[in-house]
Amino acid sequence: MSWHRKNLLDIESLTAGELTTVLDTAREFKAVGERDIKKVPALQGKTVVNFFVEPSTRTRVSFELSAKRLSADIINFSADASSFQKGESLKDTARTLEALNADIIVIRHKAAGAPHFLARFLNSHVVNAGDGAHEHPTQALLDVFTIREKKGDIAGLNVTILGDILFSRVARSNIWALRKLGANVTLCGPSTLVPRVFEQMGCRVTYDLDEALANADVINLLRIQHERQRKTMFPSIGEYARLFGLNRTRLAKAKPDALIMHPGPMNRGVEIESELADCDRAVILEQVTNGIAVRMAVLYLVNGGNAAEMNA
């Protein structure tokens, strides 16, 4: 088994073999989630802290359920209720969490690199649950898990990522994961949100939606992140929906069995026509279900990272 890491900080530094190990492990955890008794004792006695310095509900809940299904104890520590408002530094807060004997710290932070910073001085395992516009590794893992489950193999697939790429950590993590596993990645959206510099990550960049959708096996729609954007990135939501929103006519350009994915929360009528979000090619809710299996796999694997390092 190819996994010796103590932390999961990003997708960029993982090998294809490590990605595959997470996906294979997640497959077995998905089977656990389909049983009558959905709980296994693998992390019994371990403490997981959800350290969310940026608001998030779905990722936090997904990690929470994952930890519980592994029999770990989990506590939620969120910024609004915390000592940040009293002026404590990130480092001091993280050290405090570790002093509570947290075995795994799951961190969401608005600053890129915050998880890497913590990992430098913490003995606890650190899992990145989204850092600024940098990476969101578990989202990418659940996306490729869903694609692999539906399509069998990632290599050679045409994956189109549509929307706000520039501000999207989901896009960055997805691009790394998909490229490492051999997919062809096309990015499309308003030119202000899809700079050509992404070509350096091995992607095709186009501003013509029909061209981007031609021959696509997978269409991953990203939300317009109002909260990360200055007002000037594109003229109006209405124009965005007209130029880059996915609808039935445009979907016809893609392969007939193309998957429609969305990391949520989605804006119906903006990036996706409402009825498409409910059609049988949309796997949006399956992504949510798979998120638990993938996060269980990540918690399980990083927890063994130390021992595996010693035995390697």
Binding site: V32, I37, A42, G305, A307
Partner: protein
Amino acid sequence: MADRSVSRTVLEADALARAWRRVAHEIAEAHTAGGAVILVGIQRGGVALAQQLGETLGSIYDQAVAVGSVEPGLHRDDLSQRGMAELRPTELPGDMADKVVVLVDDVLSTGRTVRASIDAVMAFGRPRCIRLAVLIDRGHRELPIRPDFVGKSLPTHPDEHVEVRLSEQGAPSTVEILSL
């Protein structure tokens, strides 16, 4: 794993096949209703052996015997020491209420894998009873667990490692003792 310098073959294919056939007959003698028996191979050394046993047992009962598998990894007590186990499929019927589950493994030693496998089976349901069939019992138990059906008892030194090699069809071909 690398410096297993000395290895000696202690059992050959003929003797193993005879022992495994005898185990099938013992199971059939103890549990006369073939339909109630499920053979469950412990991942991963026990899975191919359970298949083999299922074929022999099926011809004794003259009816097919259900064969499944169980992954003990998530229920181990030594995950923090050994690192996380690679997970393989658990395939069990959901309703085991009136079934006799026979756990099958290649080598029984400390009993910890069997303990974890029993818990993994119990997480699926409540079988009428659970039995244990092993090809080799090498001793050194650390838990109060004993096999119901044994191919061969093989006295070993704690430092040695017992390896069962299978043919391509999943039949046991040799048993070797490796000295560390």
